[in-house]
Symmetry: C2
């Protein structure tokens, strides 16, 4: 099955209580693609970087089975750069630098080879760019997953609602679900948000797990209790990559498959946060992923 990923590929510079990094591989589409690559290949990537983005970074992403034909390189421009510093509890962070650079006028060009993708992951980007991607696909994918954030609710709510109306699965965090729906109770919030279009809603609660909503049903995956959380950057994107990667691998979109996908997504996110940036997403084994999947079952079985 083919999976198309749209999102940012970027530089991140991260500081946590445990250390700091220089400009490492960042961006939603990087995390999503690397995570999904453990489930299905190839991953077709549509993104944009500047001439400053090292070829070795691109090669390392390609080495995981990610097709980078759709990765535009604007040689005279600079890559998107985000820098942030996490507080002691790792639950809050301060953004130090956001340089949009090439992302400011990103035109998502979809290579012909990618046209017949069956699964589409719209990583966090301007809703206008996300809409363009849907419009430019000749056939509608079997399942479209959309990630977004409060920033777009604040400045582009109409466009955001338009793209939300066209997707199957929306992933947001609990605060964003409350903001988007105007409801505090998550059950009510979920019902209102699904009225906007998506058949499925995933509410991510960070260290408190994630909830999948569908019609009047819900399914809860806790977050694993880890020995060490090192860097939460990209956890949500890694989750989304594992989630849709598993669905694409199974080529099924029923509720039971999505429940398991939620657990695989959570398992991938748990690896992500154990090291800086994307580091832990390069050398996982199938067995490690299965072991962690099984830990979720043990944690909730009674």
């Amino acid at each position: 099955m083919s999976l198309l990923v749209i999102g940012s590929v970027a530089f991140d510079a991260i500081e946590t209580p445990f250390g700091k990094t220089d400009k490492i591989i960042g961006g939603a589409a990087s995390y999503i693609s690397l995570s999904a690559s453990y489930f299905v290949k190839p991953i077709n990537l549509v993104a944009v970087v500047g001439g400053d983005f090292p070829q070795e970074y691109i090669d390392s992403i390609r080495s995981k089975g990610v097709d980078t034909k759709g990765l535009q390189i604007k040689s005279t421009e600079k890559s998107f750069f985000w820098s942030g510093k996490y507080n002691y509890d790792l639950n809050s962070r301060d953004t130090l630098i956001t340089e949009l650079n090439v992302l400011g006028n990103f035109d998502p060009i979809i290579p012909d080879d990618y046209q017949n993708c069956e699964y589409l992951m719209l990583g966090n980007l301007s809703p206008d760019v996300q809409l363009k991607v849907i419009e430019r696909l000749h056939n509608r994918p079997k399942l479209i997953v959309l990630d977004t954030m409060n920033f777009w609710m604040d400045i582009a709510l109409d466009s955001l609602k338009q793209v939300i109306s066209k997707v199957d699965v929306l992933t947001i965090n609990d605060e964003e679900a409350r903001q988007l729906s105007g409801e505090y109770q998550l059950k009510k919030a979920a019902q209102k948000i699904m009225l906007l279009g998506p058949k499925y809603l995933i509410i991510k609660k960070g260290e408190h797990g994630a909830i999948l909503f569908h019609e009047d049903r819900s399914f809860y995956a806790p977050a694993l209790l880890l020995d060490q959380v090192f860097d939460p950057t990209g956890a949500g994107d890694t989750f989304a990559g594992g989630f849709l990667g598993y669905i694409a691998k199974k080529d099924k979109t029923d509720f039971d498959t999505l429940k398991k996908a939620l657990v695989y997504g959570s398992a991938m996110a748990s690896f992500c946060v154990e090291k800086f940036g994307t580091e832990n997403l390069f050398n996982l084994t199938e067995q490690q992923i299965e072991d962690r999947f099984n830990q979720f079952r043990i944690m909730v079985e009674f």
Copy 2:
């Protein structure tokens, strides 16, 4: 099996965004006893009230199979009174009034009839009072569950650690676990706290569920997604009552039994928050409780 409950029986006056109450039945031991009464009888109650505590309140508690022989009535004094106001999200509250009254010099006298209790629930009280109860029992119960709060960590840490060292199960919330252990990650926090004595630790996370720790194992019960949360007062106590009530009913203290007990406790807490105060704990049916227990299974099964 016999269950002994020690804690406050009191007046609460509660204000939430949905309404407010006059002086209704409050206190940890009230919630614990009422909740446990759905699992095992009699519940033996040791507590103290003043002469102002209405006989009808005592009768209503007795009507649920709670033995009130151990409820001291100090006719010339006033009952413990707490008044609080919840904010919009119901996750934070301001205490408006705390009048200790009879609780200030509570001497927990244990009637002879209660001496051979097999299960003991030490509701939130001064650790010195909790210690006295343990010392005054001629035989050690099969399982002792202790509830406490950050207040006692702040002002009576040595006494608290002493009582913690004598119990089998400690229940606290996530912030309290972090305070008590000095560790942010709950897994590490739990390991450190269990070194203080308890074989089991329950970390309550409110709307995010509860985790049971034992040796190197952990078990997670989510909070159900309710249509309406009306008043969170007493949810933790109701949880504890259902938890230990189920254990006493089964008369088993292995990890598998405690896992199910965690779910029953969570189920009882979910009823508690749907109405004001103890209101919803008076008229539940066994079938309602079983249905809710099964909802937990549906919510996590994959």
